[in-house]
Symmetry: none
Subunit: 415 residues, 2 copies
Amino acid sequence: MKAEILCVGTELLLGDIINTNAAYIARELANIGIDVYYQTVVGDNNGRLKESLALAFSRADIVVMTGGLGPTYDDLTKETVADYFHKKMIMDDASLKSIEGFFYRLKRPMTENNKKQAMMPEGAAIFPNANGTAPGLAVSENGKTAILLPGPPAEMRPMFQDAVLPYLMKFSDKVLLSHNIRIFGMGESRVEEMLYDLMKNSTNPTIAPYAKAGEVTLRVTAAAETTEECEKMIAPTIKKIEAVIGKYIYGIDVPDIQTATVKELIRKKVTVATAESCTGGLVSERITEVPGASEIFGCGVCSYANEIKHRVLGVSEETLAKYGAVSEQTAREMAGGVRKLAGADIGVSTTGIAGPGGGTPEKPVGLVYIGIDSDKLTTVLKLNINYHKADERTYIRHMTAQNVFRLIMKALEDY
Amino acid sequence: MKAEILCVGTELLLGDIINTNAAYIARELANIGIDVYYQTVVGDNNGRLKESLALAFSRADIVVMTGGLGPTYDDLTKETVADYFHKKMIMDDASLKSIEGFFYRLKRPMTENNKKQAMMPEGAAIFPNANGTAPGLAVSENGKTAILLPGPPAEMRPMFQDAVLPYLMKFSDKVLLSHNIRIFGMGESRVEEMLYDLMKNSTNPTIAPYAKAGEVTLRVTAAAETTEECEKMIAPTIKKIEAVIGKYIYGIDVPDIQTATVKELIRKKVTVATAESCTGGLVSERITEVPGASEIFGCGVCSYANEIKHRVLGVSEETLAKYGAVSEQTAREMAGGVRKLAGADIGVSTTGIAGPGGGTPEKPVGLVYIGIDSDKLTTVLKLNINYHKADERTYIRHMTAQNVFRLIMKALEDY
């Protein structure tokens, strides 16, 4: 089974946005054994889109398309596909109701052009869009299948998982099941190095690594007759992975490290408070992003100014004068101070040089101290974060927050 | 002048890495007025690469390629291009010396296969690689030009700036210039509806809308002989847009609303402090994401618990008991309290129901109060944020923060 990926959008073609959809879809197709030999990007142009579609179908059985499902006149992917398959466009009542419902929930007026999004090629399979107005769809005839998905990744990805994968599975006679092992603290090449033989020799289940923003995910996927069989095939592989890199795994099938941390805090009934300088609220923001965080989090202070570190958190003026705001001593006093202020079990703090300015030879950009204070331990972690030049500030703040969560998880082992 | 982008690499095709090169090159080409109608990704496969190259040259004058310049047997972009142009591969002594120098500086042994990277199609223009071993190159004949660049962005981008742009300028007879108008407070369909005629009838400059995360950007692009001419052509269009939707525009050519806000705070020397409940630190995080934020921001409090709202921010226990944490009164006292605590010019606060739980008929998910307090005004904005089901919590918090920045911008008009 061969597929091609055809992404439609002038904003992609002009480079205004980066094509993350193509990579996402390519990986998903590879996981279920569908080969992709070409990816193409074309603008919102009827003629060129038509040519690209014909070319893709001359080489492949399935063409997965993204973009051009919007409400405006220059969104013409559906119309072009209908044309290719010689289908009439007809109003899909279920889609229209769903779009109307979407606007009703948003209490926004539905404009006339949104109705266009409910027009579908006759006979299409419709994929509802839980996160936007444009439904996805598939048109299939004579062994050729076009799958049309909305361009925004936040709409496309859930649709792919919920509707497209099951749809594609009908081209296969197997069930597919994946578990995602979340890893923080080692890079992708190191993970691959340590698990090289296992990864290389695993064909069912497969082990696929995904790296992003300082984390690695290993997705273990099995194909079998039933879900239960898949589970049985996956379990020993996960055991083997845990045996090698277990201490870097913060969770399986959890979305991210803050969710894993907050869930563990709730489970152990341990409260936490945050005092942030270089992260500027990022840690408290990520804690409170998790539903239910209020059970274990009541207070965060973003003490950007030294005066606030002193007056609100109780960091001594001597410490600030002698060691400076970015120091082990300040991090320690910030963590202790916020813990006391909040009456929490654990206090954590961040102070560092996030750049782009502010670095010195002694305290360069990327130097970060993370403090943690509880009844059971008081410690400060010093990091020298190696940053990418282009986004140093964002990256340093992100990696600092990642390490805060890892430290909290570690501290929780004592509870 | 038409160009295509052809990215070579199995790791792209399988989605192991995201194709940032295509977007980068597309933008750079658009900037110098070279049109791109297609981007293609193909694996390291001689036959398919050859076909893709022939197809691209059937549609375009210039094909910019990335990847496949490495030292190993499956790197075959150069060989395929040489074949296409019927050129012999010959050793380029300057490139060989440069590669030898690269290994010498790294104190690493040069392997035999690295010599392959100095083999070039006869007559090629060579682009030295300051950041890796693979030189780039251009082969040009009979009006067709292939430009071959290394795959790693850290090598490709400097090479593009230093060598490819000067090389390409000889093909271009026009300059392209864009301005980006940033809009918050109205959706994409509404923007298009209000500007429909203007957008549809504008061909030079063009007006293109981009929507993401509750914001809309209108990119106005002109093509002319000189930058000055472009500016003259764009100015009246921007004026017309401002006349229709001016009060929703928060900036032109600024990356986002927090940057616009922080820059304006710095310019007017006005300090701000934040008291966050439902946003949990998101507002302070976004303020401090902007370099230089410390000039206008010293203190943020994430008062998630009522007790912290009272004890740290001074919200009265009566207010909390009588009206509740999510109320106009609490928002007002939080804003005033943090302003006093921080000694700032403006205090802002957020309190609301971010979901998924916690909603009641009187106070449903999406109900948010934003307080703002200064010498000049004290006011509370009540919002009922209409959310997308899949990410209600993230969306409500995001939209709350967006509105905080909009309110600060509005308050700054009085300074």
